[in-house]
Point group: C2
Chain length 245, copies 2
């Protein structure tokens, strides 16, 4: 396994950072290198908003479900799926983009995720660490108001970056047999693999928390997903011009 793969395999979320500032030039290099991520038909349907203003950071931390590292981290980025720029490109040539389709929503969301993952990898390669902030979708309209995010643009997630104060052990992932299939989506043997993985995760939590936590993976999933997550997203997106037609 080469050292790029070792880097990928060492990823853990970092939420505590040292006071060391991140050089602006380094951040610029990270983002510019990351822009070479694949993009459907070269549409590059994303915009990244770096939030430096501390009052805005404080509000974002609150809007994201009281996550203090959103306020405290050296670099905070809001990743937006962006059809607005594409609309401008079309209007220059007297065309109108069909921006309210499910497909354009997928195109822009995937483009945003690909470039963000490159940024996470590039940052980690430079000794930084970070965490995605899905909580940016807790109150996406509040985020849009705060950052003046226009129609046909929506914040998909945030990202904290900085020099890690501490790096945790990696959390075990699902066994390959569960996530990689051959020629058909077959679930033969999945139940046994799930049971094994449940034990692995339970042991991981026990070790990490001095036996204070011991839930399995399936328990964690059931607890998380039994409640409808972010039920406002449909209406929010509809109001933003993403109508999922």
């Amino acid at each position: 396994m080469n050292h790029v793969m070792e880097l990928l395999k060492s990823h853990t979320s970092v939420r505590k950072f040292t006071n060391k500032l991140v050089d602006d030039q380094l951040l610029k290099e990270i983002i510019q290198a990351s822009q070479y991520a694949s993009t459907s038909n070269h549409i590059q349907a994303y915009t990244i908003i770096r939030v430096k203003d501390q009052a805005k950071r404080k509000t974002l931390a609150k809007l994201s479900g009281d996550q203090p590292y959103v306020e405290e981290c050296p670099i905070f980025l809001v990743f937006c799926a962006d059809l607005n720029r594409l609309g401008k490109a079309c209007s220059i040539h007297h065309e109108v983009i069909e921006s309210s389709s499910t497909e354009t929503f997928i195109l822009a969301t995937v483009d945003t995720a690909l470039v963000a993952q490159n940024i996470m990898i590039a940052a980690e390669s430079a000794g930084l660490g970070g965490v995605y902030i899905g909580g940016i979708r807790n109150n996406p309209q509040g985020v849009c108001d705060l950052l003046q995010i226009p129609h046909h643009v929506y914040p998909v997630f945030g990202m904290c970056l900085g020099y890690p104060e501490k790096i945790n052990a990696t959390k075990p992932r699902l066994p390959l047999s569960l996530i990689l299939k051959e020629d058909t989506y077959s679930t033969d043997g999945d139940e046994n693999h799930l049971t094994e993985y449940d034990e692995l995760i339970s042991n991981y939590y026990k070790v990490r928390t001095n036996n204070e936590r011991s839930n399995t993976w399936t328990e964690g999933i059931a607890t998380y997903l039994k409640n409808k997550q972010r039920p406002h997203m449909k209406d929010f997106l509809h109001n933003k011009g993403f109508e999922m037609k």
Copy 2:
């Protein structure tokens, strides 16, 4: 700029591959390292189907809009956003997942994109090249029938991987000033930057095609997006249990 960033910055889509086979052990290492991508609440909501069967490959190449490299490439992967496994995890604990919400659709789609991008980077670090196949959504129901993809799972994109026969020059990306904003989504100066980028892209095509092609970026976008893309996606997803509620 370190060599990981250099690797990211050197990305180009590869559609022509040598006959050299990709070692199964290498593919396994690539995917296992890539699984450490961030995942919302550790849900890991994706399944990858490797398609080896040549008859299926031929059908997939046709379903994806007659893209011959889907049939010819050494490795072809179909990346699926997967809520089915999460549903099983919930049912073990007598809970029911709300799998038809817009939010769970975003969660699973983003999870899938993050792990896929890690796989692209890991593959490139090992000397492979590849290309995403969004065309897998041209006829997603056909893909589901062929690969027996169940309810609450949908194919987001495919990916061809192999040893590159030839590596193209990279295609210039949008200038940083267009995609990176500070504190607000401001579009001041965007028009001038778009004009400059249009010239850059036009020159890029001229050089690459011996003056046969010279369109600008905004022209390309207008031509691509003036027609509604994949209008079947809403109904397809609805029928698959992704109701975007």
